[in-house]
């Protein structure tokens, strides 16, 4: 059996804040910001939620009807609830998966979980474990009045990797990494810093291009071989630009572009685009997927949907209904800034 994703879950909190409402607080031109970022609103977790509670929500869905033992649990986040103390073991306890599993938390900005996904695939493929749970969860926040405040959002995605009845085959992967400090947060500092436009060309674009081109070359594939493409979404503009630069059409990425409504949930961002795409994909269709993590690196994957997906398909768009808009002071309370 080929290794792949056998089950998945996601969680998007109910609250939303409009970019225009944040812009109004700072006397900024809302239309200009919306147009510049291609983001209209973002998902906000409540004050009672954090990366761990959201991870539990998405993992509970993924674990429903899952039967083989979880031999590894990897938790990728850049907003861990503890600086020292693993979230992965707390989540394992909450999910009641026993004790015979390898657990660790991973950190690599927005690609912490896709790196862990590669490790999970290796463990399953080498028959050392039956299945692994990989979680990407973030309650992302930016410093008030920083550009990140318009996009940093909350959300979680959980994937189970195994070789029994996969719904999405992992055909190949490739990584591209370098020391490129475009976004960082030092120990003890509450908010991340970033290099402005430096996060673009030498960072996001260079690394995703490096990973995707290597993957296409390795697998002798072309952009037109894929029905869908998913790229990390720090805003709504970058994924559109990188798709075009790499030869993918607007149609191929359309279903994954959920950032304009949900914002950038950091480690969960690209994977949220993936699970949004799974609502529509048909068996046999392929997805080109590339994450990006500041610092910097990109993991690119080729996925193929199998007939098993029909049994476990989740309706992403349906789950987004029932959103509640909050105002800026409520947002600050939700993020525990006040």
């Amino acid at each position: 059996m080929k290794t792949g994703i056998t089950s998945y879950g996601f969680y998007v909190p109910q609250y939303r804040i409009r970019v225009a409402d944040i812009a109004a607080v700072w006397g900024k031109n809302a239309h200009e910001i919306e147009r510049g970022l291609c983001v209209m609103e973002k998902a906000v977790s409540t004050a009672a939620e954090d990366s761990l509670t959201m991870a539990y929500e998405s993992s509970s869905i993924a674990m429903k009807n899952h039967t083989t033992p979880i031999g590894a649990l990897f938790f990728g986040t850049e907003s861990p609830v503890y600086a020292v103390n693993p979230s992965s073991t707390i989540l394992g306890e909450l999910l009641d998966i026993g004790n015979n599993y390898l657990a660790y938390d991973t950190q690599f900005a927005c690609k912490a979980a896709t790196g862990a996904l590669i490790s999970a695939v290796a463990l399953v493929e080498s028959k050392q474990i039956k299945s692994a749970l990989v979680v990407a969860s973030d309650k992302a926040t930016g410093k008030p009045h920083d550009a990140l405040e318009y996009t940093a959002a909350s959300g979680s995605v959980s994937l189970i990797v195994g070789d029994t009845n996969p719904i999405l085959l992992i055909e190949a992967w490739e990584s591209f990494s370098s020391d490129t400090p475009d976004f960082w947060r030092r120990e003890g500092i509450k908010y991340p810093s970033h290099g402005g436009r430096f996060t673009g060309k030498p960072s996001y674009f260079k690394h995703i291009t490096g990973a995707v081109q290597a993957l296409l070359s390795k697998t002798k594939s072309k952009p037109e071989d894929f029905t869908y493409a998913v790229f990390h979404m720090p805003n709504g503009k970058f994924p559109v630009q990188i798709a075009s630069q790499l030869g993918f059409s607007a149609e191929q990425i359309k279903k994954s572009l959920i950032v304009s409504e949900l914002g950038n949930s950091y480690t969960a961002s690209a994977l949220m685009g993936l699970v949004a795409t799974l609502e529509y994909i048909k068996p046999g269709e392929k997805i080109l997927f590339a994450s990006y993590g500041s610092g910097a690196g990109s993991d690119a994957f080729i996925f193929t949907a199998t007939p098993e997906l029909e049994k476990k398909r989740l309706l992403f768009s349906k789950k987004l209904k029932g959103k509640i808009y909050i105002d800026y002071p409520t947002y600050l309370k939700c993020m525990r800034i006040i």
Partner: protein, 383 residues
């Protein structure tokens, strides 16, 4: 004794993230030595214009660093006068050369600005303002906005009279292959750009840029005969209070007026003899002040005349201004700006300005300002 510029080189201006301050210095030195075919051993001294190396990068004692890069032991002087550092370096090089027979010097201007976050570069630039101004929290866009508001109010102009400067300089920048921005902009874009400090929007402000530029200036007769160059006819520096608070008028830059008067007197030419000027448009309002304070236009006239685009190259007027794109479009790597201004005149007067070449020019003027007008350098060159 006269001094002559016999070579010019500039790096591209812009966000050059892959290059350090001294990478840029090395690049322009290599470039100028190659383009002039002059041996490093023939350089008797080096003048280096730079403002922020010490503030942002803890990078002082630049003379020894440049000596290290070039493998030379000649005197190297670092010159600092905020955004006029490059112009000041030229002034000193000019005086050095013309007081010593047969000497050849290199003037380098360089700045590395885009590696730090905006708040740090803003803070760094404000080291060129007075203590009171720093403590009040105002920044250079704020200081120039104060001056702009008074000027617009006094003469009944509005933001459109400022926007014309940015539109014209971007139109010129399109033709300059080393400019930071090579994109034409419209009045609507300028007027709708994000407000920085009312009435100045984002497109009224010159950018933060990286870049380096260099000149070779000589009094060596054999080199002057051999190379097609331009003569520095006059170079004058004037200073004024660092703080706006101490100025008699907020709608003129006295240091520019004084430096210009002295420069024209020394050059023994009239304003009307100048057919090309590179003026210090750090903000759009600054080009209006420059045109008036240099004596090209009467006080209060600039707002009206600038929207007629008479200094736009394609209108073939008597005086063309900022063919390089000015600070606005060409970019403003602070220490390099004054060198680039004179370098642009060199290219134009020697017929090497390619697509932006202005014809039939005899004299050019460069105007470089430090801070909100605490230092001004006016250099007149001719062939």
């Amino acid at each position: 004794m006269t001094s002559h510029i016999i070579g010019y080189h500039t790096t591209r201006f812009g966000e050059l993230w892959e290059k350090s301050l001294f990478d840029l210095v090395g690049e322009t030195v290599d470039g100028i030595l190659k383009s002039t075919d002059i041996e490093l051993g023939n350089i008797d001294a080096i003048f280096f214009g730079n403002m922020l190396g010490g503030v942002l990068e803890n990078n002082l004692h630049a003379g020894a660093k440049i000596a290290d890069i070039l493998g030379v032991t000649v005197p190297i002087f670092r010159v600092e006068g905020a955004c006029a550092s490059g112009g000041l370096a030229i002034n000193l090089a000019h005086e050095y050369v013309r007081s010593r027979k047969g000497k050849t010097v290199m003037v380098i201007g360089a700045e590395k600005m885009t590696d730090v976050q905006p708040e740090f570069i803003t803070q760094g630039l404000m080291s060129a303002a007075s203590g009171e101004e720093q403590e009040s929290g105002i920044t250079f866009p704020g200081l120039y906005a104060l001056m702009a508001r008074l000027y617009l109010k006094k003469y009944g102009y509005d933001k459109r009279n400022l926007a014309a400067v940015a539109i014209k300089n971007h139109a010129h920048g399109v033709l300059n292959p080393t400019a930071h921005f090579r994109k034409a902009i419209t009045e609507q874009q300028v007027l709708q750009s994000s407000l920085i400090a009312d009435p100045l929007g984002l497109l009224d402000c010159s950018p933060v840029s990286d870049g380096a530029a260099s000149l070779i200036i000589t009094s060596d007769e054999s080199l002057i005969k051999k190379k097609k160059g331009v003569t520095i006819i006059s170079s004058q520096v004037a200073t004024d209070s660092i703080s706006l608070l101490q100025r008699d008028s907020l709608i003129e830059i006295q240091a520019t007026q004084i430096a210009a008067e002295k420069a024209f007197k020394e050059a023994k030419i009239q304003r009307s003899d100048i057919s090309l000027a590179e003026v210090h448009d750090c903000f759009t309002i600054a080009e209006l002040f420059a045109m008036e304070d240099l004596g090209f236009w009467k006080k209060g006239e600039a707002g009206r005349r600038v929207i007629q685009y008479e200094t736009l190259r394609e209108n073939n007027g008597r005086l063309i201004v900022n063919t390089s794109g000015g600070l606005k479009a060409s970019g403003h790597p602070v220490g390099a700006t004054g060198i680039k201004q004179v370098g642009e005149l060199f290219l134009q007067l020697t017929g090497k300005a390619e697509k932006r070449q202005v014809k039939n020019i005899k004299y050019g003027l460069a105007h470089n300002v430090g801070g909100s007008g605490g230092t001004a350098v006016v250099t007149i060159v001719g062939i």
